[in-house]
Symmetry: C2
Subunit: 379 residues, 2 copies
């Protein structure tokens, strides 16, 4: 008989909400979970078998932590790759592979990979210095992105004219054509070591035009079947070109002309898949476990319409988190709360998410709007 799941300890780099939701599912498979996180009170701390407080970017810390596990995964890309490479050399299973994390960590290399593999993406240029920007013949306005360590909207700016270069990032960047998109969509694809692949149905991001922010995530999409099929195929192409083991979230733009362009990818559970916990037969977290343990992939079909909203720390509040009006929103059918176990709130910190399911799509959106204006994280 092959090795039992319980004999293959899972090491997770990062102990935030993604690790937390991953462990909640991994419990069903008797997975022994080890977590490394620089925050001594990380969300995973009390729900894993072994918690280590330490840096995920330090070679020795990651290497020594990884030695304790059999399979190593990540919940954030910013980890020490060299340690993962060394662990792979010594026979540990690292999923996603260090090679894939290295490729994705750098948005410049990521973009080049898309180009080399005929993955549709917006035109771009690399710019190592401000001089490169000044010498670029890219039309304004364009998007400037830090090649490394951008996160949750940080590390991205819109450049309207040559004057903006004064205040631009002073680090290796990519210059990207500004895409006049109709919607952002995302597809999560899973791939196990046997090469089996499955995609989750396309989800749509609903923008708040006033705040210019993603407000909701709606699953499944109502785009034409042919466009959805195309998006799913693009996600599969990326996963198989990368030869990834694990799940990969693929964020895409749909242009006003109906063209699909890949924006960026993340080789791990992703905010655009949180609604799968209630909205789909198998969740992205269970699917990631199935992928990295080389098990058959689960049924990704949508059960019903699901709208996901992030629960962010309210502006103007910093301190021990309090959840205002939680009771009110729980009195609505189909509202599911996921709090991330973070003791302290601060403005815009991701404190949890809420998924609203309803067989009526418009009703789900309506309930989500109500939840969004009602539930507040204050201090």
């Amino acid at each position: 008989m092959a090795k039992q799941i319980s004999e293959l300890k899972l090491g997770i780099l990062g102990g935030g909400q993604l690790g937390r939701m991953l462990i909640q599912q991994a419990i069903n498979y008797n997975v022994t979970s080890l977590v490394l996180d620089p925050d001594p009170d990380a969300p995973c701390k009390h729900i894993c078998n072994y918690f280590e407080n330490g840096s995920i970017t330090d070679f020795d810390t990651v290497y020594n932590f990884g030695k304790k596990a059999d399979i190593i995964t990540i919940e954030i890309e910013k980890v020490n790759i060299e340690a993962l490479e060394q662990l792979e050399k010594e026979g540990k299973q690292v999923f996603p592979q260090s090679r894939v994390i290295r490729l994705i960590q750098d948005k410049g290399i990521q973009k080049q990979f898309f180009k080399e593999n005929d993955i549709p993406t917006s035109p771009f240029q690399l710019a190592n210095t401000k001089d490169d920007m000044l010498n670029s013949n890219f039309d304004f306005p364009y998007i400037l992105k830090l090649r490394k360590d951008g996160y949750d909207g940080k590390g991205v700016m819109r450049m309207n004219s040559i004057e903006d270069i004064d205040n631009a990032f002073d680090a290796p960047c990519i210059i990207e054509k500004l895409v006049d998109f109709e919607k952002e969509i995302a597809v999560i694809v899973a791939r196990n070591s046997k090469g089996d692949m499955k995609t989750f149905p396309v989800v749509e991001m609903e923008f708040n035009p006033e705040a210019n922010l993603v407000e909701f995530l709606i699953s499944p999409s109502t785009y034409a079947e042919s466009l959805q099929q195309k998006a799913e195929n693009i996600a599969k192409n990326i996963a198989s070109s990368m030869n990834i083991t694990g799940i990969l979230a693929v964020e895409m733009f749909v242009t006003k002309e109906g063209e699909i362009l890949v924006n960026e990818v993340a080789p791990r559970p992703h905010n655009s898949g949180h609604q799968t916990i209630e909205g789909n037969y198998v969740s992205q977290f269970e699917q990631h476990i199935r992928s990295i343990y080389n098990l058959p992939l689960g049924d990704t079909s949508s059960i019903t319409n699901a709208v996901m909203i992030n629960l962010l720390g309210e502006k103007g509040y910093e301190g021990i988190a309090k959840y205002e009006n939680l009771e009110k929103i729980l009195s609505i059918d189909g509202v599911f709360v996921h709090l991330y176990g973070k003791k302290y709130t601060k403005p815009f910190r991701k404190m949890g998410h809420i998924t609203i399911v309803d067989i009526d799509r418009e009703k789900a959106i309506e309930k989500a709007r109500y939840v969004q204006k009602t539930l507040r994280v204050i201090a």
Copy 2:
């Protein structure tokens, strides 16, 4: 603002699979969980905030443990009631209340309670000694049940004739009329401190006529709406007569004449509600959390057909558990595995459960039969 959930620590007496699945859900609400269990390797050990290895039937141990929590609940009825009474006196919230656990712990008192509250149940007599049995004028065959500490079919015997009294339990028992039932059904009802109540849809137990054992649990029932309504009302009547806070599982017989008789009740998450995790919008575990934290109760509707089977340790194997053919069953859509984190298997030990969901009821049953004969826990 009312107290935050995270400010009210949850103490759980018992750290087995029921506690484990309860904590998996409680994580979503930032519940701080403390667990007391006599097994140093109990299934909850690594997923709670604080684990204490100790007796749940010893006054001092339960009392001192309870002092550390704000809300105390149980995952098994056999706990020290006096300690819970003392904790209640000192202002701790004990849900279900010690009074309710005391009533249910003793099947004699439980039966008398049904009688006093006009809850339909089979005729019975108390029998404190074998002499009482000899002097009883109850017709054979009848069912003899230990008043206390019966569990998973233990503490129940069928008495065919007066000769069987020689081998009967030598402890306080109840004599029950043997019910010639068509099916066993169950309803789980939840009640919070405000008095809000909600029932889960009726589920049916499918018997294996050969082994005379419950083989599957099927949700929802296909009995006529009127019968189901009656069963749900009975469950609600019991919960409100008991004034319980928490969830209550009500097991009932449907006789061949279509009459409903209550068999017994359990004031906690129950094996007859495991399929709610995937099969219903809210699970019994989340509903129990909502009840004891006095939150609005969730939507109990069925999402689709769900069949649940218990995964028992295979006869003839004892030792470190191995799950044979896990991959095979995971390749079937709609199959969800819940392993309980028990290192050692022995014959008939509950090692996990599997839920199979399918929009086609017969297909769900067919898949369940396949899973049942394929997945084996050996050593």
